[in-house]
């Protein structure tokens, strides 16, 4: 039987704020255990929550970026469950009146096509602490630094049809969040986390199959692997004549499998009710408009502009605009060098390879935008050839002096002096009588061999166009 996969993602993003969602405790990553956990975060009697305005602004900003409806009135609710990393015994979340309602975003698929994915809602809630189960003689250790960190939970519609689409969606979300600067969204550090709801149904069937929720997927690569594993597992369950059980499953990256965690039907009754310690959050149009004004140009708009304004192809434009810093780097190089095409080629080629190799962000690149622009300018004014430029580029990684100094020092300036080029060409003609003969008999392609010989003789420094010209004239 042919199956169709249906996936919806729930993505938690830690919002970048100085303090926690409901208290004035610092919320930085990586602090000593419990040094960022004060009386409110520990839920000592009598403490009350007060909402962090910045977190609310971040949530609204995200909503505007995905063209979602923004609720002018939103309400916080208590989600009750018992676990020691949640000292209050409930998590403050939003159930019926989330801040961000229905929206959508566009994903880019590998074949170059696009697909719109619905976002059901995005609600604000507080993060829990962390439990450590080893090394405490039968006890668990609790670190509450993370407790109360503001989260935005972004829930997608079940619009995704395979693991690759899920990854594309997550990447697009990641890109938008970084553009908005509302979170550092680092999956490895848990500031962006993804749960996947996965079900399968016979192709053509409208009703959804029973879904499982996969947790603990902490990289883009694992999202794809975990979903593929789970789809395969569900197919086998059904083909064996059994039923898929609705449950939460944990992804184990080492074994590449999902394991049953707990059965949702029996375990979860969160007894939600409106949080009595918080009043409804009411925002007006002026508040929303003031946030709209802070929206940057977003990846899709930037990509369209790069195609139109700079003549980039779709692929290059996608790669470059995927990352806001990369897009800014590109615009800076283009402005300073006056050549968008060369800028794009260098950035998606040599520079990207260099960054990947060293695991650097573009902001950490030893070759800053203005220096790459200088290099491109020297290619354009024929000071160096494209081939030599690659060697200069290598030199620029270690050497922070100016591009002109590096070219000078390496003695790699392109030879454009016609006297010198003529000498080179004469030498090549003398050394290659057979090829010269062939060319004169009409075998045009031999010319590139002869040009190659001249370039080799000049150690790559001769201007290939001039060499070509001289050869043609002399061999007439």
């Amino acid at each position: 039987m042919e199956w169709e996969t249906v996936i919806g993602l729930e993505v938690h993003v830690q919002l970048s704020t100085k303090s926690k969602l409901f208290s004035g405790t610092a919320s930085q990553f990586g602090a000593e255990p419990n040094t960022q956990a004060n009386i409110y975060d520990l839920a000592l009697p009598g403490v009350l929550p007060v909402l962090n305005e910045e977190a609310l602004k971040h949530a609204v900003k995200f909503g505007l970026a995905i063209n979602a409806s923004i609720s002018k009135t939103s309400v916080f609710d208590r989600k009750n469950y018992f676990y020691p990393d949640l000292p209050k015994g409930y998590q403050i979340s939003q159930l019926d009146f989330p801040t961000v309602g229905k929206g959508s975003l566009m994903i880019n698929l590998e074949d170059g096509s696009e697909k719109v994915i619905g976002v059901t809602r995005a609600h604000m809630e507080e993060d829990a602490g962390k439990s450590l189960h080893e090394d405490f003689h039968g006890m668990s250790g609790i670190d509450l630094n993370r407790a109360g960190t503001p989260l935005l939970e972004i829930v997608s519609e079940p619009d995704l049809r395979n693991a690759k689409e899920a990854v594309a969606y997550l990447k697009k979300l990641h890109s938008i969040i970084l553009y908005l600067d509302i979170s550092d969204a680092i999956m490895a550090q848990g500031s962006m986390r993804c749960d996947a709801n996965v079900s399968i149904r016979p192709k053509g069937e409208i009703e959804l199959g029973t879904r499982t929720e996969i947790k603990n997927i902490n990289s883009f690569r694992f999202v794809e692997k975990a979903i593929n594993y789970e789809v395969q597992r569900q197919q086998e369950v059904i083909q064996d004549g059994s039923r898929v059980v609705q449950e939460t499953r944990l992804y184990d990256a080492e074994l590449n499998e999902t394991r049953s965690m707990r059965s949702k039907e029996v375990a979860n009754d969160y007894r939600y009710f409106p949080e009595p310690d918080l009043l409804p959050i009411v925002i007006d149009q002026a508040f929303i408009d003031s946030i709209r004004e802070t929206l940057p140009e977003l990846p899709d708009a930037k990509k369209a502009r790069f195609v139109k304004e700079f003549g980039l192809n779709d692929y290059d434009a996608s790669v470059i605009t995927n990352n806001r810093d990369m897009a800014e780097y590109f615009e800076s190089v283009t402005r300073d060098s006056g050549d968008a095409k060369l800028a794009a080629n260098w950035i998606t080629g040599d520079l990207q390879a260099l960054l990947n190799k060293n695991n650097w962000e573009i902001t950490e690149s030893p070759i800053q935008a203005y220096r790459l622009a200088q290099l491109i300018a020297r290619i354009k004014d024929n000071t160096i050839s494209g081939k030599i430029a690659k060697r200069i580029f290598e030199g620029m990684i270690e050497d922070s002096s100016s591009v002109d100094d590096i070219i000078e020092e390496a003695g790699l300036k392109q030879v454009t002096d016609s006297g010198e080029i003529e000498k080179l060409v004469d030498e090549v003609i003398d050394n290659n009588p057979d090829q010269v003969q062939q060319f004169r008999e009409g075998k045009q392609q031999v010319l590139s061999y002869l040009v190659g010989q001249a370039m080799k003789l000049s150690r790559g420094k001769a201007n290939p166009n001039q060499v070509n010209q001289f050869l043609r004239n002399k061999l007439k």
């Binding site: 303090s19 004035g24 305005e53 189960h133 409804p280």
Partner: protein, 95 residues
């Protein structure tokens, strides 16, 4: 619905509250009163009443995103039954 003494002791223990013998009689009466109030509330027909997010007709004030708390770990951990290497220790919990 009334509360008996052993239930009160159990709840106090779970909430880590110390209630003396002298106080227990009064606390029990007050909790019993609250439970009676809840019974009364549950008997009211609310079919035509729109859900209310909050009884006060006021709006939530927001807090500027500033760090107003310092690190009180040592003071707070001195209140905890057990702590080690900066972590609060609790009976082992694992799913």
């Amino acid at each position: 619905m009334a509360l008996d003494k052993s239930e009160l002791e159990k709840i106090a223990h779970l909430a880590r509250l110390h209630i003396t013998k002298a106080e227990s009689e009064e606390v029990m009466l007050r909790i019993t009163d609250i439970l009676a109030l809840i019974d009364e509330m549950q008997s009211i027909n609310t079919n035509d009443v729109a859900p209310l997010a909050h009884p006060l007709d006021l709006l939530q004030r927001l807090r500027t995103d500033e760090i107003t708390e310092r690190d009180y770990r040592d003071e707070l951990q001195s209140l905890a039954p057990e702590a080690q290497e900066g972590l609060y220790l609790v009976p082992k919990v694992i799913e």
